[in-house]
Amino acid sequence: MNAAIISTNYPYIVAIILFCLGCLCILTQHNLIKKVIGINIMQTGIFLFFIAVGNIKGGIAPIYDPSLPGDILYINPLPSGLMLTGIVVSFSVTAFALVTIVKLYHYYGTIYAPDIMRMR
């Protein structure tokens, strides 16, 4: 793979890096809040990936304007629209996870996973 391909497709690489960071965060962090942050980082990586798929270099926002010249490029609005749904899903999962963590804090007095495992 040569440098030109990598430099033109850098959003994908950033997306993959974010995704991997998020996974690592979920699996290795002991603090439960940090795990939730990991879920969010991972999902942000995916959102970035979708937005990058829909983007066209030099394209403008997909709002039809008759005063613009006819051969102008619009970006693909579908992935962005999908990601609105994705953001809502991510929001509800985060909210659910945070509520559960609050309940765990009430029961155990800590949000540090190894302590909770010890207290069972």
Partner: protein
């Protein structure tokens, strides 16, 4: 007639409405909230019956949501497999809802009743949506709703253990949905479509150009759905979640939620990628390996558990392994055995979990060493338990035997006779952890051997008995379901 055509859509939208009415209704009249849920699930069941009848007589149903035709809008496709799954999901859910009326007040706090039926209806709806949708992003949304609903089913009990299990389930399942969404992103990037039929057509054309990308997509989807379906090394959330949930929830989670992910996985592999790609990418052998490990280690782990529901949960890991094994064999008999086991295992596991709940209801016993004499105190429940356990072991005349036979035929067809040894070993292991319970309950009674009727309400006994009858039906007359599923199998293995 417009209403007749839009039945697949009404199926989904009606129970979503009922789901959100339920908590409001429960504030007003709490004691009637189960009946609202029963009404909604009954409507879904009747609707599914009509749809299945239409599929059986008139072929596959296509429905365009809001009249947007396929490449743009969401398409609903109901084929034989979807129709069978719809019947299974709504029928089992109906029985479980009946069971919940009396079983729930003993297992969850009173103020949570309305919310329990909300998450139950949401889970049922999204599972049905997942089975019938033909749009891959819609599929992802349904996966997420099912996930949150399933977590809610575990969390509804409250208390330390179930909260902890919920969090673990939620974390791992979100990891899984992240993987699924990334896989969908790859598919969209390659093909530019979200409709499964269009993706399949595009992918068949460009398959040779992007071998690495297709391989990556398949691995992402395998890991994502594997976490949710609890394929062996990815099952770590399962025992806690199943054992700490109330019994009707464990029955739904184990019998229905896990199965829907497997069906979706099979549909994505066979309809999007096609059998040839599934074979060429060696994904088949990976799944075969994981399934073999699941069958062995799931049974071993189940053997050492002392809590009944934990034992049943680990046994689910092994049984999921059977389904994956059948489907990764890739032969006609293997696929048929996989689909048949989805149905049989739903009956067996729901029956076992509901019996465990009935035992808890009458005697508050949860450990497998506390079963002595129960065969005389709860004859009907223990008879159903015994039927399901025999079926798990794979004794002829019970449903489990037919799948074991099908798997053995499939492994011979695939040229891998070693799997027969694995199936026999697994049957023996199943016997080793189910027979002690049965032996204890019938033959080790120290004082009270007088036969008395169960002190369990009829609304809990009848679902258990119906499930046990289902297991026997699958064992005695497997021809009907088999011929219904054979059309799907032939379509997949083209």
């Amino acid at each position: 007639m417009h209403l007749w055509d839009s039945m697949p859509f009404l199926l989904i939208i009606f129970s979503v409405l009922c789901a959100f009415i339920s908590p409001v209704f429960a504030r007003w009249k709490r004691e009637y909230s189960p009946y609202l849920a029963i009404f909604s699930v009954t409507v879904s069941f009747l609707n599914s019956c009509v749809l299945a009848y239409r599929v059986f007589c008139g072929g596959i149903i296509y429905y365009h949501v809001a009249d947007w035709s396929p490449p743009w809008g969401i398409e609903i496709v109901i084929d034989e497999l979807s129709a069978a799954m719809l019947l299974l999901l709504s029928g089992c859910c109906l029985l479980i809802t009946f069971y919940s009326i009396r079983a729930l007040p003993k297992e969850i706090p009173e103020h949570a009743t309305g919310w329990y039926y909300t998450v139950l209806l949401l889970t049922l709806t999204s599972m049905m949506g997942m089975v019938i949708t033909n749009d891959i992003f819609n599929f992802y949304v349904m996966v997420e709703v099912t996930q949150i609903g399933a977590c809610g089913l575990v969390a509804v009990r409250g208390g330390k253990h179930s909260t902890e299990a919920t969090l673990r389930y939620l974390m791992l399942a979100s990891l899984g949905s992240g993987f699924i969404l990334f896989g969908i992103g790859f598919l969209y990037q390659v093909t530019g479509n979200l409709n499964i039929s269009y993706i399949a057509a595009e992918l068949a054309a460009v398959r040779q150009q992007y071998p690495f990308l297709i391989w990556a997509t398949m691995s992402f989807i395998t890991v994502g759905l594997g976490v949710k379906a609890a394929l062996f090394p990815l099952h770590i959330w399962l025992p806690d979640a199943y054992s700490s949930a109330p019994s009707p929830s464990s029955a739904i989670l184990s019998g229905l939620v896990g199965k829907v992910y497997i069906v979706s996985m099979i549909r994505i592999y066979m309809l999007v990628f096609g059998f040839q790609v599934f074979h060429d990418t060696y994904m088949r052998y990976l799944i075969m390996l994981m399934a073999a490990a699941a069958i062995l280690f799931g049974s071993f782990f189940a053997f050492v558990q002392l809590d009944l529901k934990r034992r049943l949960a680990y046994s689910s890991v092994a049984q999921v392994g059977y389904i994956f094994l059948g489907f990764s064999l890739g032969t006609t008999w293997g696929m048929k055995a996989a689909f048949l086991h989805i149905i049989t295992h739903a009956f067996m596991k729901i029956c076992l979990f509901l019996s465990a709940g009935a035992v808890y209801y009458q005697t508050e016993r949860t450990k497998v060493i506390q079963f002595s004499g129960l065969g005389y105190q709860m004859p009907v429940t223990m008879a159903a338990f015994t039927v399901s356990a025999f079926s798990m072991v794979g004794i002829p005349l019970f449903g489990g035997f037919i799948t074991k036979y099908g798997l053995a035929m499939g492994s011979l067809e695939a040229g891998n006779p070693y799997f027969i040894i694995l199936i026999v070993i697994s049957g023996l292991l199943n016997a080793s952890y189910f027979f002690p319970i049965i032996w204890q309950s019938y033959f080790t009674s120290e004082h009270n051997t007088k036969l008395v009727m169960d002190r369990v309400p009829l609304s809990m006994l009848v679902p258990i008995v119906i499930m046990a009858l289902g297991v026997i039906y699958m064992g005695l007359f497997p021809g009907g379901p088999l011929s219904f599923l054979e059309r799907t199998v032939n379509r997949f293995l083209l």
